[in-house]
Amino acid sequence: MEINVNGRPLTAVADLSLQQLLQQQGVNGKAIAVAINDDVVHREQWPTLTLQPGDRVTLVTVVAGG
């Protein structure tokens, strides 16, 4: 299936969980937040949430700032 991660198209296997996507992308989960189609997904839901074709995944992390 086709999904979009941080503005980039990505081909992913069916029934991929959000947790699996993060592992595949080398995102370690520390100071990370995820939204799917602009809805923030709680950390506890990462293992059980299954991605759907066309999902827009936003991954953000913390950086230095004022």
Binding site: V5, N6, G7, R8, Q25, G26, V27, N28, K30, A31, I32, A33, V34, A35, D38, V40, V41, H42, R43, T58, L59, V60, T61, V62, V63, A64, G65, G66
Partner: protein, 256 residues
Amino acid sequence: MLKIADRAFSSRLLVGSGKYRSAQVMHDAIAASGSELITFALKRVELEQPQDDLVTPIQQLGLQLLPNTSGAKTAEQAVFAAKLARQALGTDWVKLEIHPDPNYLLPDPVETLTAAEQLVKQGFVVLPYCGADPVLCKRLEEAGCAAVMPLGAPIGSNRGLISRDFLQIIVEQAQVPVIIDAGIGAPSHAAEALEMGADAVLVNTAIATAADPVAMAEAFKLAVLAGYQGRQAGGRAPSIGRAEASSPMTNFLESL
């Protein structure tokens, strides 16, 4: 003590984590500043690139993280950023900043008030960056913000308290802490802010881009202490239009 929402802070200096030349210098400067409230920003994860852990060393010092909504141009974007920050850092605290204008980075008062109202309803501890507008500050306070953060001058401009007459009114009227944010370019500016009755200041550029950021962080720490103590001791002595002698005007020299 500085009380914001349900937390008490012994330091009246908040510092930003941006613009440092290295994470180590940032860490050392934050430690030297004595600050207990440190701002961070959010950005998209760069996939397939190593991710620096900026946060753990700060948390190990027992400091409160204050994520900002920098990059938001509308209330909707700022609320989204705040929700992401809450997930990323596990804190309800947020420095709300919405500045769509790229030249002066001046905060949008309408969007800021709208976002503040929504975020307070959703349980956030909201510290809004705003113009030095006494009416807006009152409205933000009424919306339930835990503090107000009016600007001294545009972000990163180092121009000091060019809005001082309006800051004075804000300080007089506020029932929540007033944290003067943005534009503070020198320790003397920070001291002036505390002297005029501000509860705290937030400093980033002036420390991070100093020749010696660690020493400058300590200078700001001392300036904030001096300004606060001066305020507690009665504030600035009255300005008088002519001289008034400090030494006795005795006439023992007239016999020479």
